[in-house]
Structure formats: C-alpha cells, structure tokens
Symmetry: C2
DNA sequence: ACCTGAACACCGTTCAAGT
DNA sequence: ACCTGAACACCGTTCAAGT
C-alpha cells in the first residue's frame, strides 16, 4: 500500500518547491529528501524534465479545480470570485506557478488531453468564445506573474485592477 | 575611443542572448566572447546579477522607445499600433524579454528612475489612469509571455485577441 | 590596473559495480 | 529490480600569483 516511487518523487518535488523555491527542484535535493542517492532517481524517471512535467501537470489540474470550485459557489459575481480565488492560489505556490507558466509546457511529457481539460473551465465561462477566453487567461496570467515578480508598487491597488478586468461591470 | 569594459560586457551579453538564448548569459561564455578568462570579469562587475541588471535596463528602455515611436507615427489606431509594435519587438528578443519580465527586476542595481521612466509611456497613453495603465501592461505582458512559451494553439488567431484587447473598439 | 590558472561548492547525467 | 560511489562537463565565485 505504498505509493509508487514516481508519485513519491512528485510529492517531494512539490513540497521542496513550496519550502525552498525553484532551486529546491534539483535531482540531488529530491534524492536527499527521499533518503537516496541522486543517480537512483533515474530508475523511476528518465530525466529532470520528467519531474518538471509532473509538477506542471499538478499545477494545471489544481488551478482549474480552484476556479471550478469558486464558480460553483455562485456568489454575486462568480467570474470575479473565480479570478480572485485563482490569484490567491497562484500566489500561495509561486514556484510551481512560475515553473508551469514561466517556461514552455513539456507537452510531450504530459498526459494527453490534460492541458485542454484544464483550459476548459475558462472557455466554458467565456461562453465558448475562444478570443475572450484567451484574453481572460492572458490577463490573469499577466497580473499574477507581474505581482509575483514584485513588479507593482507596494501601494498599488491591485484589487481594483482585478475588478476592472474581471468584475461584472467590466463588460 | 574604446568603449569601457562594462559596456563591452553588456553588448556581448545582449548578443549572446540573441544567438544562444538564456544559457548564453554565463560568465564563462561572456568572457570567452571577449577573449578573456571568466575571473577577470569580476574586475568590472561585482557578480553575474550586475550583468542581468544591465540587460534588464536596456530592455526597459528599448521597449519604451519602441512604443513611443509607434505612437508618434499617428496611425488610425495608435494604441493598437503601439501594442503590436511592442509585441513584435518582444518576440524578436525572447531571452531578454524573459530575463526582464519573467523574474524580479534587480532594482537595487538599476539606474534610479529608469523603471518609472519606462513605465511613463503607458501611463501617459492611459491618460494618467494608473488602473488602466496597469491592466494594459499586464494584458500585453500576459499575451507575450504565453506566446513566447508556446502556450497558444498554432491556429489561434492572436491578432484578433490583440485587437480585442487594444483596438479602438475595445473601450 | 588588469589578467591568469587552480580550486571550491554546486548542477544534471552516465556508468560500472554491488545486492 | 534497485541502489551505490566515482566521474564528466557544466555552473558562479574566490584567491593567490603574475605583468
């Protein structure tokens, strides 16, 4: 009833990103956290990118789930609520977010269909309009990545920016 | 009449990013391109971050200049023209763009006022409305970084998305 | 003032060898 | 089937030594 090693590796990788940030995702550190030597990881994973892809997959799935849950809560302004929930979740996992959106997706290492499935939430909420969906996705991503990079002044009213972008009144 | 070494370093760094991408920005490669050993760079620069900051500074200034030039051309839709010119320029220098916007700005190593001066173009074009300026900036950044990361399907009509975001009709 | 080679602590990855 | 230590080619950076 023990988890397969690949899943243990993914778990440890996710935790190391939470605690140590991006440098935590090294073969040697993951191995050390598992009480094993670095080369032995290669029995369960063909290279470091496999591990990056595992993290990217989890990030895509969790992010979509966060939005879906927020939409289901049916608040006064569900779109804004979903955007805000997604923002809060991304800020809580900066290293994972950056690893997933700040560099190319390792598509060939991802379970097929996973990317489309994660994108579905946004497209559905945009009523099937792909242009609107892509614009909403890009706007949220831009705001999050700039906030993560500390790119806005400390006194910037980012809530107001998010409301302007995603609030009911914005359309 | 030779350039100071720091400027030579910045020039070489910029070129290496154009030709080799992000891995090109290594102390050893910059040194080799200058025909010198890596340790000797430390006579002109205190650490690698100094070089990153030099590139970030150039990126901020050039990006702002690109927008300003496009706005001055006074086309039918100057806002859209400026956004498109900025997009085209960013896609032509992906490594520099990522180095400047994909990670924290090294503010303490940047000439004071440079960041604000570069941001001014957008704020001016937004008529001084900071919320709108930040939203436009984030939207453009989000679209560019997702496009650079190959995140949109090949058949995505990105021009239409940019028009929806920045076209005259969008307001 | 400017440069050098050797060295240190890190990477990802390979490989022969052990159980 | 799974793990090991040693090694290789890379990093950024330090330092004693040379001109």
């Amino acid at each position: 009833m023990v988890k397969p090693r690949v899943e243990q590796i993914a778990d440890v990788a996710w935790e190391l990103l939470d605690t140590e940030g991006e440098p935590g995702l090294s073969m040697r550190r993951i191995a050390a956290a598992l009480g094993v030597s670095a080369p032995s990881l290669y029995k369960h994973v063909t290279c470091r990118d496999d591990i990056v892809a595992l993290v990217q997959g989890r990030t895509l799935i969790e992010g979509a789930a966060v939005m879906r849950r927020a939409l289901r809560r049916r608040s006064a302004d569900p779109g804004l609520a979903a955007a805000m929930a997604y923002r809060r979740w991304a800020l809580a996992h900066p290293a994972q977010y950056t690893l997933t959106y700040g560099q190319p997706l390792l598509r060939h290492l991802l379970p097929p269909g996973l990317e489309d499935q994660a994108a579905m939430v946004v497209v559905e909420h945009a009523g099937g309009d792909e242009i609107t969906a892509r614009l909403m996705f890009a706007t949220a991503h831009g705001l999050i990545s700039l906030e993560l990079a500390g790119r806005f002044p400390d006194d910037a009213n980012l809530d107001a920016v998010w409301r302007a972008a995603f609030g009911r009144a914005a359309h």
